[in-house]
Amino acid sequence: MDKRKIAIVVAIGILIVVLLVTSALGSGDNKLAAFDDVLASPSVLGALAVSNSTLAQIGIGSSGGSPQHVSAKSTLVLNGKPEILYVGAEYCPYCAAERWPVIIALMRFGTFSNLHYMTSSHTDVYPDTATFTFYNSTYQSSYITFVAREIVTNKFVNGTYPPLQTLNGTENSITTALNPSGSIPFIDFANKSTISGSTYSPQILQNMNWSQVAAQLAVQNSTTAQSILGSANLITAQICKATNNTPASVCSASYIKRIESFT
């Protein structure tokens, strides 16, 4: 075979692959919804295991979160460890935004498995925001027990979102007492502090798929990194308060202590 012809054929083959990849990753929020419930790729999850040095440089970033101190007498404990309770919904765009820093923060204290992709509602504000779902995922940690409740799905059926998970009696009592407005996402850090709503705007994630968001996390001065990683540090500080600053490898960091002091 003629080497020049081979080179031309190979070039054509590569060009076709590039066109196909461009087509798949091209615009169209509705394409992201096709990834709902698909297992999150190792490369995206790997990008969420952000280094301590990067997080230290970001600090609070441009996170707009404002945790509320809780003056409860007793720490919320489950399985012998402080419980971090998350209440959200798959349709919810603010929950979609918040899951990114929640996952990054929780990865510093334990390991997730079986995380699946999800997109927020196609018919709500900030439609099809790329995110994950905690439904059917597993989290293991020596320091905390993470309980996630995704209360409804993201599929609008007959005028409503079908229910997914329910809160038990204790969880209902907590949300009634500490989140009377019922806003989501809601996170209770072992009754030491809470966060209601998202700590940054889902607008930042618009028109990005998971790989693109993950890639932006590596660009420290990007709005995405400043928002998500800043919020991850805020959430980490709340978890540290819940665990009495354990482990030291995470909670003794000066930037975490600084955030703890003013939140």
Binding site: M1, K5, V9, I12, G13, I14, I16, A24, S41
Partner: protein, 134 residues
């Protein structure tokens, strides 16, 4: 394996690939022709065939590419354009990288897609063997 056997094998594989591509394309457009495929572990034709990777620019089903590929290949075999057939098979082989990346990204495998991938690889190998013997 003689030239005659190889030729029959090439035709047979290309026709099989064409039929599978036509089946997937028709089922893309109508629910009246469902895709029969088990959903076990990583095998999930539904997820793969309804993903963004299953259409080109959101319009043309990827399986239509298969129809074009195998139809052209059959034509080249018929007119005994052996070298052109070889080049065409190489291009077809390159597109497999895109579909493998798609399945890796989704974490799912489509059995029909896998069958087509194997057919393309087999046709590429046979085209080189054919040229060698010829």
């Amino acid at each position: 394996m003689g030239l005659d056997t190889m030729q029959k094998l090439q035709y047979g594989l290309a026709v099989l690939g064409l039929l599978i591509s036509i089946y997937l394309t028709i089922s893309h457009y109508t629910e009246a022709v469902p895709v029969y495929c088990p959903t076990v572990g990583v095998v999930d034709c539904g997820t793969v065939l309804s993903s963004p990777f299953a259409t080109i620019f959101g319009i043309i089903p990827s399986s239509a590419l298969g129809i074009v590929f195998f139809a052209v290949l059959i034509g080249l075999f018929y007119y005994k354009k052996i070298e052109l057939g070889q080049y065409w098979a190489i291009i077809g082989f390159f597109t497999l990288f895109y579909f493998w990346w798609a399945e890796y990204t989704l974490g799912k495998i489509c059995l029909y897609c896998t069958a087509i991938h194997l057919i393309v690889i087999a046709l590429l190998i046979i085209s080189f063997l054919y040229k060698e013997i010829e």
